[in-house]
Amino acid sequence: MIGLNHYLLLATILFGIGVYGVFSKRNAVAILMSIELMLNAVNINFVAINKFIQPSNTIGQLFAIFVIVVAAAEVSVGLALIISIYRHKKSVNLSDFNLMKW
C-alpha cells in the first residue's frame, strides 16, 4: 500500500529534480520552472503529511494553497522581469548576467 514514506520520497525526488534543474539549466525561465518543481515538492509534502499525520485539520492543505498562490505571484513578477530584461539584453541566459562579481 502507498503510505506516507512514498509521498515523502516522491517529494524529495521532485525537489532533487528541481535542484538539478536549477544547476543544469542556463535559461532563466527554465530555472524558474525548476524552482516551481521544488515548490510543488513542498506542496506534496504538506498535503501528504496533513493526510497521514494530522488528518484532524487541514493546515497542511491550507499551506499548500498559500504556497501555490504565492508561487503564482512570484512567477508572474519573475516572468515580467525576465521579459523586460530580455527587451534590453536580448538574452535570458543567466550566464550573461555577470556584470557584478567579486
Partner: protein
C-alpha cells in the same frame, strides 16, 4: 481579541494601496504629493505603533501576535522606511514616471516585514516573507534601463525563490515532526514527544538556511553583494537594514518560541555560521573598491555580529540583537544616504567618487565617517554599545572564542571603513564646489548622525526598550 491592535498592519496596507492609486490618478505635476503622502502616512502609522507600544494581544490561536517584540521591529521598519524616503528625495528622480509606485512597493515591503515580525505561525511567516521578498524583486530591478539594476533583480528573483523553496521544505519537515504550524503548538508537541527526530533536525537546518538567506549569513550570503550593488541605492539601504531585521525578527521568534534550546541545541551550529559570516564578510570587504559593494560585504559581517546575540540566546545576547538591529538602521541608512548623495552627484559609487568629499561637503563626509565607524564598533558610537551587548551575551553563554573572533574581525574591519574616510578626507576630487543636499535628505542625515551618537553615548533608553521587548523569550 482586540482587533484595534491590528490597525498598524491594516493602515499600512491601506496606505500602500492609496499611494498606488494616487500615483495613477494624480496628474504628472501632482505626483510630487505622492511622496509626501507616503511620508505622512508612515508617520501616522509610526505614531500609532508607538502609542500602542505596550499593548499585547494574540490573534487566531497564536497565528498572529501583537507584542512589544513585534512592535519594536515595526518601529524599526517604519523608521527605516521614513529615513529612506527622506534621503531618497533626489534619487527618486531617476525613477521617472514610476516614482509613485516605488513608494507603494516600499510600503508593501514594509507591510510584509511587519507581518514577519508578528507572525506566530509558519504560514503567516511565509506570507509576510513573500510579500516583502516579491516587493524587493521589483524594487531591486526598478531602474530597468540600468543593466546592473536589472541584473540585481533577476539574480534576487532566482536566489530568493530558491531560498523560499528551501525554507518551505524545512517548514514542511517541521510540520511533519510536530503536526502543527503555530509556534507555540510546535513547541508543545515536540517537548511532549521528548526525543529528537532526524526529520526535525533537517527541518530546522533548512529553515535556518532559508532565513539565513534573508539575513545573508554565510554560506547563504552570495546574492548580497550583487544585489546590493545593483539595486537602486535607497532600495539597497532598505534591503540592508529592514529586510535583514525582518529576517532576524522571524528567526529569533521561531528559534526561541517554537524550537528553544531546551529542545534542540542549534546554538553551536549558529555559532559556527556566525563566525564564518563575520570572518568572510570582513575579509572580502577588505578587497572592495566600490562603496556599495563594500557596504554589502560589511552588512554580511554585521549579520554575523547580530547572529552572535542569537547564538548566546540569553538576556544580553537577545537584547544585543534588537539593540544592534536598531542602531544598524541609523548607521547604515546614514552611510547609504551619503552614498546616495554621492551617486546622484557623480553618477558613481566607486571609491574614487568619494574623493575630496571632506572638502566639498564636510557634513556628508562627517556623517559617513561617523556611521561607518559606528558599524565598525568604535566607541562612543552606537555600534560599540551594540557589540558590547552581543559579545557580553556570547561570553556569558560560554562562547569566548566567538567573542575573540568577532572583536578581532571588527577591529580589522576598521581598515576598509577608514579607506573610505581616507578617500573622503585626503582624496583629490575631479570636481570642485559644494554638493547640493536637499532639505529632506539633510534631515535624514541629521537623524542618522544624532541617532548613532545618541545611542552610543547614552544607550540606557534603548536598552530599556529592548529589555521589555525580549521579555517574552526569557
Amino acid at each position: 481579541m482586540n482587533y484595534g491592535l491590528l490597525t498598524t498592519e491594516i493602515l499600512t496596507a491601506v496606505l500602500g494601496l492609496i499611494v498606488l492609486i494616487a500615483g495613477l490618478l494624480l496628474p504628472e505635476r501632482g505626483k510630487k504629493a505622492v511622496g509626501f503622502l507616503a511620508v505622512l502616512g508612515l508617520t501616522v502609522i509610526l505614531a500609532n505603533v508607538i502609542l500602542n507600544f505596550g499593548h499585547e494581544a494574540v490573534f487566531f490561536n497564536g497565528v498572529y501576535q501583537i507584542d512589544i517584540y513585534g512592535n519594536f521591529f515595526k518601529v524599526l521598519f517604519l523608521c527605516a522606511a521614513l529615513l529612506v524616503f527622506f534621503m531618497a528625495s533626489r534619487y527618486t528622480e531617476f525613477f521617472g514616471q514610476r516614482k509613485s509606485e516605488w513608494f507603494s512597493f516600499m510600503i508593501f515591503a514594509t507591510l510584509g516585514m511587519m507581518v514577519m515580525a508578528s507572525a506566530g505561525d509558519l504560514i503567516t511567516l511565509y506570507v509576510g516573507l513573500e510579500l516583502m521578498t516579491i516587493s524587493f524583486y521589483i524594487l531591486s530591478a526598478y531602474l530597468l534601463n540600468d543593466g546592473l539594476s536589472a541584473e540585481a533583480g533577476i539574480k534576487y528573483l532566482i536566489m530568493g525563490a530558491l531560498s523560499s523553496a528551501v525554507l518551505l521544505f524545512g517548514m514542511s519537515l517541521i510540520y511533519a515532526a510536530s503536526g502543527s504550524t503555530v509556534f507555540t503548538e510546535i513547541y508543545r508537541t515536540l517537548s511532549a514527544a521528548g526525543n529528537i527526530q532526524p526529520v526535525l533536525v533537517a527541518g530546522i537546518v533548512m529553515m535556518i538556511a532559508g532565513l539565513g538567506f534573508k539575513i545573508s549569513a554565510v554560506p547563504f550570503h552570495m546574492w548580497t553583494p550583487d544585489i546590493y550593488q545593483g539595486a537602486p541605492t535607497p532600495v539597497t539601504a532598505y534591503l540592508a537594514v529592514a529586510s535583514k531585521a525582518a529576517g532576524f525578527a522571524a528567526l529569533v521568534r521561531i528559534l526561541l518560541v517554537a524550537l528553544p534550546l531546551s529542545l534542540f541545541n542549534w546554538s553551536l551550529a549558529l555559532a559556527v555560521l556566525a563566525a564564518l559570516t563575520i570572518v568572510i564578510g570582513n575579509l572580502i570587504a577588505l578587497a572592495q573598491k566600490n562603496v556599495k559593494r563594500l557596504l554589502a560585504y560589511s552588512s554580511i559581517a554585521q549579520a554575523g555580529y547580530i547572529l552572535v546575540g542569537l547564538v548566546a540566546a540569553n538576556s544580553y545576547g537577545l537584547k544585543g540583537v534588537l539593540f544592534y538591529a536598531m542602531l544598524y538602521v541609523f548607521s547604515n541608512v546614514g552611510a547609504f544616504a551619503v552614498t546616495t548623495m554621492v551617486e546622484v552627484e557623480t553618477g558613481s559609487t566607486e571609491l574614487e567618487a568619494f574623493n575630496g568629499l571632506g572638502q566639498r561637503a564636510p557634513m556628508l563626509a562627517a556623517v559617513m565617517t561617523v556611521c561607518l565607524l559606528s558599524l565598525a564598533g568604535i566607541p562612543p558610537l552606537a555600534g560599540f554599545a551594540g557589540k558590547f551587548y552581543l559579545f557580553s551575551g556570547a561570553i556569558q553563554a560560554g562562547y569566548l572564542w566567538l567573542a575573540f573572533v568577532g572583536l578581532l574581525m571588527s577591529m580589522i574591519s576598521v581598515y576598509y571603513y577608514l579607506i573610505v574616510a581616507k578617500a573622503m578626507y585626503i582624496g583629490i576630487s575631479q570636481k570642485e564646489g559644494p554638493i547640493l543636499v536637499p532639505l529632506t535628505a539633510r534631515l535624514a542625515l541629521w537623524v542618522c548622525l544624532a541617532g548613532t551618537l545618541f545611542i552610543g553615548l547614552y544607550p540606557g533608553p534603548l536598552s530599556r526598550i529592548t529589555e521589555m521587548a525580549i521579555g517574552l523569550f526569557l
